[in-house]
């Protein structure tokens, strides 16, 4: 079961303000449609959360006068519930250590990183999000050997840490455990990692911190390539665990599409 992080029933012409470090979202249920008005941060709110802090939710009935963009969501049905879920970024995220990490052969260190979450707004029981956005600025970057082969990712400034992070009150970031296995004969130098976030779900532990499943990245000797394995359970002590965000793509689809690409080019 998927748990929303925020849920509200709205009457027509009622709305919710979602205030984050990046922007303000004003979500309204109108007579025939739902509308999301996107405004710059601080347009109407006095208090703006810092980057990495959870967004603030306030009921409102005032449609903003100035907005940069609006989204009209038309279902043709009378839906009264707004549900807000979190998801991992829809593109891979590049994270870096503070300094390059050297991992000798046959070693298996664990490192941790914080990643930004995306907020997904759903109307009623719709599985499709009406609007998805980050709650803090996240840059785009290219990850690859050159500008020809590689992929478009998000670049996140938060650095890789070597110790398991402690819960931070009101945080809106997801922790990921990275297990790096060097099965090669030579020491590897780790300057940045591309984390395949679209394939990862999000869990909330004890209603206070977000975690995703552990990711194992192994550098193989034969063949000379990297392999990625996804864990099934969050490796962190907890009493209550709730799944709050589905992965954007299933792992099966990744395997299938890779096989298809290998066959048809």
């Amino acid at each position: 079961m998927l748990y929303p992080i925020y849920e509200i029933q709205l009457l027509p012409k009622q709305g919710v303000q979602i205030i984050s470090a990046l922007q303000e979202l004003h979500v309204f249920r109108l007579e025939h449609e739902w509308r999301v008005f996107i405004c710059a941060a601080g347009t109407t709110a006095d208090k703006v959360p810092a980057a990495g802090e959870a967004p603030l939710f306030f009921p409102t009935e005032q449609i903003p006068e100035h907005y940069t963009k609006s989204v009209v969501w038309l279902t043709g049905e009378q839906e009264s519930t707004l549900r807000c879920y979190v998801t991992m970024p829809d593109r891979p995220v590049i994270v870096k250590p503070t300094e390059p990490l050297f991992i000798p052969k046959d070693c298996k260190p664990h490192v941790y990183c914080n990643l930004p979450l995306q907020l997904a707004l759903h109307v009623g029981n719709s599985k499709e999000a009406m609007h998805t956005s980050f709650c803090e600025p996240v840059a785009k970057a290219w990850f690859g050997k050159n500008t020809r082969s590689g992929e478009l990712c998000y670049a996140f400034e938060e650095r890789i840490v070597l110790e398991q992070p402690e819960p931070v009150a009101n945080s809106f970031r997801v922790h990921a455990e990275l297990r790096i296995q060097n099965r090669d004969n030579v020491t590897i130098k780790l300057e940045r990692i591309n984390i395949p976030t679209p394939y990862l779900p999000v869990y909330r532990l004890d209603q206070r911190e977000y975690w995703t499943v552990p990711i194992t990245i192994s550098k193989e000797r034969v063949p000379d390539e990297l392999r990625v394995h996804y864990g099934k359970l969050v490796n962190r002590k907890h009493e209550l665990i709730e799944k709050v965000g589905e992965a954007h793509h299933s792992l099966e689809s990744r395997t299938f599409m890779r096989a298809l690409e290998a066959i048809i080019g």
Partner: protein, 277 residues
């Protein structure tokens, strides 16, 4: 064996085919068409959503022609045709048609090479012989382009083989270059800091590959520089406009002067301007 004799030999089985054979042949054709439509409908559901339009068209055509070919052959064999004779006839006919339509044959062969090369696909923006546009179809004899001012242009495959084709959509990212001349008294490192800070704040511009301000030369106009920023290929034109607007605003705010000509717009294909790896 001359073509007339071949044709006579080809048509001879028809005279011996009875009504039941004709019925069976017609049945094969109907089943073939139905099966083809069924396969097409199944492929449309899956292939269209999982592969690129270009590959989807190729797959669908290949499946369609294969199914039709098999059932037409089966229908003909019911009428008593021998496939060996049919293939011989096809060979003779193709030579005859080839001589009669050399240009079309040349285009057809060029089309096969183009398909093998995978230089572009349906949906890509390309430039060929000074015509720029989106590829709307890749056919046996020609490709069809929709230019940015909404003209429909047919480009024979032969032309594509012989001339330079620039594909603007091949790679997911593209570099925006803005060239300009700063006055001789400009603090260029300070301008560099301002420009880098400008693009770092905007999510549209990539942080890697890093944006760079290249100092190209000093001449009578001032210091020639080129600001290069990487953006998503699909957002290239909007990003370039935004970058120029932002740069002009920053220059105005910080009193940075450009010497005439104020801004040299990048050429048509600025993607391969020097310097950059």
């Amino acid at each position: 064996m001359n073509p007339i004799e071949l044709l006579q030999q080809l048509m001879q089985p028809l005279t011996g085919a009875d009504g039941w054979a004709w019925m069976r042949a017609a049945g094969y054709l109907v089943v073939g068409f139905l099966l083809r439509n069924l396969i097409m409908s199944g492929m449309r559901k899956y292939v269209d959503s999982h592969t690129h339009p270009h590959k989807a068209i190729l797959f669908k055509r290949a499946a369609s022609y294969t199914v039709l070919f098999l059932f037409v052959m089966a229908a003909l064999s019911e009428l008593g045709f021998r496939s060996g004779v049919l293939l011989a006839a096809a060979g003779v006919l193709s030579v005859a048609i080839g001589f009669a339509s050399q240009t079309s044959t040349s285009n057809f062969i060029s089309g096969l090479f183009l398909l093998g090369e995978k230089s572009f696909k349906v949906g890509d923006n390309i430039s060929v012989n000074a015509t720029r546009g989106e590829v709307v179809s890749v056919d046996w004899l020609a490709i069809k382009l929709r230019t940015f001012d909404n003209l429909y242009v047919r480009v024979p495959n032969d032309d594509l083989i012989k001339s330079h084709v620039i594909n603007f959509s091949k790679f997911p990212i593209r570099r925006v270059d803005v060239s300009m001349h700063l006055t001789h008294d400009t603090d260029v490192p300070e301008v560099e800091k301002l420009l880098l800070a400008l693009v770092r704040e905007h999510e549209r511009f990539l942080v890697e590959p890093e944006p760079k301000l290249f100092r190209n030369q000093i001449n009578h106009l001032g210091v020639s520089v080129q600001f290069s920023v990487w953006v998503e290929q699909s957002e290239f034109f909007d990003s370039r406009s935004l970058l120029i607007d932002m740069m002009l605003f920053t220059f105005k705010t910080h009193g940075i002067k450009l010497s005439a000509p104020a801004i040299v717009a990048p050429g048509l294909d600025s993607g391969y301007n020097m310097p950059y790896p």
